[in-house]
Symmetry: C2
Subunit: 120 residues, 2 copies
DNA sequence: CGCCTATATTGACGAGCGTCGATACAAGCC
DNA sequence: GGCTTGTATCGACGCTCGTCAATATAGGCG
């Protein structure tokens, strides 16, 4: 695996193919957590559902979402479950209807993850 | 699809299951673009590769990355290609070696996407 | 030229994802 | 109680993804 670098005899800063790089500062566990977050948003429908929920002051019921997208009700429910499992949204029951809202604080951590991947 | 709401006769703000919600402000095309970005980061190895590249002042060659992760060289090359295709990183050839760097400006657009999903 | 090393690409395989149809559950109304 | 409606879950299908082994390409060195 480790390359035997051809310039090894040349003195100076370019003695090997590159300076030894530090191990990633992001642990494997942290990376998996963030990967799950990104994966939850790696679908255009879920992005747009999240956008609709974020733009609505009031909680939104499922039937409204079903009308907005060219997908069946089970598909919408599935996407909502993915967003629920990652805590991007939460649901509240009112009689027969289910109302969904964005979890603002959870989405706020999102740019923070991007920052840590770049800086830490 | 559209629900016939049982409270339709009751006057007042709760005349239907929920207020009519605006269509998503994020177009389907924009959502697909962002979904591709998120998908590129929806893998723990790619997150950590990106983190290593971001932490290194100097460009990093592939053999160094192969040593850092318990994956074969083809797998690392594959992940680098995904990151290249989404312009998160770019590569530069120096003789036999390929050196990778993060595309800072491209990653800066990332929190902006999160902001637009929430606010716009 | 031929050999060697670094990296990219290909093909294959198993696993997971998105969608749909069918069904189950929950709650209100008769 | 039964009926209806809204929502969630299940099973199946096709598709994509991540990984590996094998191979191809590219560049340096003799």
């Amino acid at each position: 695996m480790t390359a035997t670098h051809p310039m090894i005899a040349i003195p100076g800063p370019a003695a090997s193919c590159c300076d030894t790089v530090a191990s990633p500062a992001v642990s494997a566990e942290q990376a998996e957590t963030w990967a799950r977050w990104f994966k939850a948003l790696a679908d255009p429908t879920r992005i747009r559902i999240l956008n609709v929920l974020a733009r609505s002051v009031e909680p939104v019921c499922v039937c409204e979402l079903v009308d907005l997208f060219p997908l069946g009700q089970p598909a919408i429910s599935h996407h909502l479950k993915v967003l629920r499992d990652t805590r991007f949204v939460f649901a509240e029951r009112r009689g027969t209807f289910m109302y969904y809202q964005v979890n603002q604080s959870c989405l706020a951590e999102f740019p923070e993850a991007a920052r840590q991947i770049l800086n830490s």
